[in-house]
């Protein structure tokens, strides 16, 4: 029995060390966040004299007040929320369509179409050819460039298709015999049973869109359309990064105080931190389904 062996073991020295090491590791994972929050909440002098470590000194909210007073940040926040919401919706719809249709074992042409999708996992045009296509279809410097060219992710497709395949066939068959169309089966039977996987995949997409910065770097020129990550990058590292000689060292202290930088980091990360605890178990589930070969 699973329990008996474990119950026999009282807390040994080895166990205690193990707990201690894991706690330490968890602290290492959390420490950078504490550091950010401590800086963002500390007084100017405390930061300058280097006394801040993982708790705020001379607590104040000045940095946050300054940031939230910047229209740039609000603009970027709005852009990112828009891209995340619209992008996730589009991605989910397309992924559901693809996975549902291709999870039907009897669909003529299924193998060919699935192969076409899976092939893109191993081979692609690369950065420049894709860039030229995005430009060619008129998406350059539009927000659409941030989600349309990457709307269906192959990994997410595999995960969802695996899930659909594992649903009991009998339910769908019964509905089909009763004369329901595939669309009706999808909407009335499959989707209600698939809410957990839809949440999981939706979250994968949402986090991806929220964090994406390279696509914005490639496709967005107009500073008014900067996403949060792009804005954050230019605030943290200065625009120099574009010119291949960015300099992380000793720069920007005059331009922006450490507190202000760290408050910006905090603001752009808080949405993820807020939703994270509730959604974590879904993510884990998604990884597990994905690891089972589709």
């Amino acid at each position: 029995m699973a329990g008996t062996l474990k119950k026999k073991n009282k807390m040994t020295v080895g166990q205690a060390i193990n707990y201690l090491l894991i706690t330490l590791l968890a602290f290492v994972c959390l420490y950078p966040f504490l550091n950010v929050i401590a800086y963002s909440l500390s007084g100017y002098n405390a930061v300058l004299s280097g006394r801040v470590n993982f708790y705020p000194i001379d607590f104040n909210l000045d940095a946050y007040k300054q940031i939230l007073g910047k229209t740039q940040i609000w603009n970027s926040m709005r852009t990112t929320v828009y891209v995340t919401v619209v992008g996730t919706a589009l991605s989910l719809v397309l992924t559901i369509f693809a996975s549902y249709a291709l999870s039907r074992q009897d669909l003529p042409g299924r193998k060919f179409l699935t192969g076409m999708i899976l092939f893109t996992m191993y081979f692609g045009g690369g950065m420049i050819p894709t860039f030229l296509v995005v430009k060619g279809v008129g998406l350059f410097d539009t927000l659409g460039a941030l989600f349309i060219p990457q709307s269906v992710n192959v990994f997410n497709f595999i995960v969802m298709r695996t899930f659909f395949r594992n649903l009991p066939d009998s339910l769908e068959e019964a509905a089909r015999i009763d004369g329901a169309s595939y669309v009706q089966v999808l909407v009335k039977i499959v989707l209600p049973l698939s809410l957990p996987i839809i949440a999981t995949i939706g979250l994968f997409y949402a986090v991806g869109y929220w964090n994406t910065y390279f696509d914005a770097l490639l496709y967005i020129q107009d500073p008014d359309k900067y996403t949060l990550q792009l804005r954050l990058r230019s605030l943290l590292f200065g625009e120099e990064l574009n010119n291949s000689n960015s300099n992380l060292e000793g720069m920007g202290t005059q331009v922006m105080t450490q507190s202000l930088k760290m408050a910006t980091v905090a603001v752009s990360t808080i949405p993820i931190l807020v939703v994270y605890p509730w959604l974590q178990k879904y993510f884990v589930k998604g990884v597990m389904i994905g690891s089972v070969k589709g």
């Binding site: 090491l21 894991i22 550091n35 291709l102 893109t120 420049i128 943290l236 990064l241 690891s291």
Partner: protein, 318 residues
């Protein structure tokens, strides 16, 4: 691709069977309607760019475009192959990937084993949540935090070192230390997330084996070596092969954001090089050629790794 159906079909393709086929396809019309936008997406944004690879063999001219630019054979390849920076980028890609693998691979397994030993479900849940968290943080944020912690002037770590009388360490500005910082950031970000797959495998280990070993007087360490590790061996091997097959692929975010002019000698990898060459200097053909070279190498490694995995009796990775 399976095309076995055509071979076994009777040679007399009658009108009736054709009509049957059409009827059969028609029955699925709504599924095809659903697939239409998806396939359109893949054709436009994945397959047309694949055709665009032809510019690696062309003298690309912005005004003429992909189709009209004149062919130039392997001229572009000759150019990049003789370029020192290209080989440097490949070397750095392998160096960073290899170092990260050496550190993170065993560490991930060790952490998984440690988490697996935890008896309190509550403690396990909380620590797991914390360990997974960095995976969801963007590289921009990670790089921002890393700068705050590691910069030579005013970085928290160096301030602590100074306060106990030690000299500052150039975490971000000397080649060797930069690699250290790069690996550290990567490990910090992904170690917890990497344990998921091992923890799943570990829950599948047959408890009765432990029970028997325990009764036979095996120590905890012996149980670990003779039961736990062999039970998850195939997961370990598959993960290792999978990671090795990605040796030539490297994300652009981390080296681009953590890198700076002082450490270009180690931070310039294939992806950042392609980006700078293609986007910043508009050398479309060169950049595409490098991308193609990388893809081809990737496929070769992947096929070899898959073959190897099957040869040693594991599941293939494709």
């Amino acid at each position: 691709m399976m095309r076995s159906g055509t071979k076994t079909q009777s040679p007399y393709i009658t009108k009736k069977s054709f009509r049957q086929k059409v009827t059969k396809v028609w029955a699925y019309k709504w599924l095809y309607v659903m697939l239409f936008p998806v396939m359109a997406y893949y054709i436009v944004f994945k397959y047309i760019p694949m055709y665009g690879i032809t510019i690696a063999f062309k003298d690309y001219n912005v005004f003429k475009g992909v189709l009209e630019s004149p062919w130039c054979g392997l001229k572009v390849f000759q150019k990049i192959m003789t370029n020192k920076n290209f080989w440097e980028a490949i070397k750095n890609t392998l160096l960073l990937n290899f170092t990260t693998l050496i550190v993170s691979f065993p560490l991930t397994i060790i952490v998984s084993l440690m988490l697996n030993e935890v008896l309190s479900t509550k403690f396990k849940k909380i620590t797991q949540s914390i360990l997974y968290l960095p995976h969801f943080i963007s590289w921009v944020v990670v790089a921002g935090i890393a700068t705050n912690l590691f910069s030579q002037q005013g970085g928290t770590i160096n301030l602590v070192l100074n306060s106990i009388g030690l000299p500052s360490i150039p975490f971000l500005s000397s080649n060797g230390w930069w690699i250290f910082t790069y690996v550290l950031c990567n490990v910090w970000k992904e170690i917890g997330w990497g344990t998921i797959i091992y923890l799943a495998a570990l829950t599948g280990v047959d408890e009765s084996l432990y029970e028997a070993a325990y009764l036979d007087g095996a120590t905890k360490f012996q149980r670990l070596i003779y039961i736990t590790l062999p039970s998850i061996k195939s997961v370990i091997v598959t993960m290792l092969i999978l990671q090795i097959s990605k040796m030539m692929t490297i994300g652009l975010d981390a080296p681009l954001l953590l890198g700076n002019s002082k450490v270009m000698g180690v931070s310039e990898v294939i992806s950042t090089y392609t980006y700078r060459l293609g986007i910043e200097r508009a050398k479309y053909s060169d950049s595409t050629a490098i991308g193609l070279f990388q893809s081809v190498i990737n496929i070769i490694i992947l096929l070899a790794a898959d073959k190897f995995a099957k040869a040693i009796g594991e599941d293939g990775i494709i």
